[in-house]
Subunit: 137 residues, 2 copies
DNA sequence: TCATAAATTATAATAATTATAAAATAAGAA
DNA sequence: TTCTTATTTTATAATTATTATAATTTATGA
């Protein structure tokens, strides 16, 4: 899902720094569900000095502010999605890529309580072999 | 979901070792969705010499054989479920416990293809604050 | 311009998992 | 039962992702 809603750092109480602006620019409309590592290496091209801590810190603050989401789908690392609207993801166990699935599975997105537990997040994950990897035997 | 189906090591081409038997015994009917660490420390009581590699190796083989499932719900570690029948899980972001949810969300469990991708796994994850943690302010 | 809280960096530490190689063992054959 | 061999286990080191720490730098508002 492409989400190009601009994130206003100031409005979520964060200082505007060039590093953060670069991270936001990279995230905006990004549909690759990047990991911290891929964000770091991309940003490094423009900011050779940026540190991993900055990437993780910024991502944590953005999650806290509800501006991005973290996905629990890649067993190896954290993956981030700038699109916070609920939608299904497909994880390819061959290449590790994550694809957005726009098909509506009619999930109970408004459920607030189940078995006495308070529900804050609902995510449907599909896993298998993606379109591209299926071609390669 | 309690699954007490006995796992026959021999039938899945694995040698019967005391360590593996202990791991299987611990897994059978276990509804706590243990991590490798919790399995290791539990087994260590009976087998003080067991190594982490054995735990991970055994779990990998059991997953390969389709005898247990791995959950993508705990952002910090791998969690395992001896019950392979599809069902929903709830992860408590406060205590880290995972609960089985028996409510039927009518998931498309038989879907084999979507957007050209081959679907092998469908999992619905709920996250929030569990029953017990809600009581404690 | 200044003061200050916040952010960034370099670095070290931690936690989970995987790899390696030597020693031990299960299991089938003799 | 003993032997043989492939498998398994163990000890250990290595790797990977992430988090913590503390010193330095910087954004921001006075």
């Amino acid at each position: 899902m492409k989400d190009t809603t601009p994130i206003q750092l100031k409005e979520i109480g964060l200082k505007i720094t060039p590093q953060r602006q670069a991270i936001l620019k990279l995230l905006k409309g990004n549909e690759t569900h990047p990991s911290a590592e891929s964000i770091y290496s991309e940003i490094s091209k423009k900011f050779p000095g940026i540190s991993f801590a900055t990437v993780y810190n910024t991502l944590s603050k953005l999650i806290e502010a509800g501006e991005i989401r973290e996905l629990d789908i890649d067993p190896n690392k954290r993956r981030f999605d700038p699109c916070v609207a609920p939608h299904t993801h497909f994880y390819c166990q061959a290449c590790g890529n994550i694809f957005d699935i726009s098909h509506d599975f009619h999930l109970p997105l408004t459920i607030k309580r189940i078995d006495g537990h308070q529900v804050d997040v609902v995510q449907l994950n599909l896993k298998g072999v993606c379109k591209n990897c299926r071609k390669i035997p």
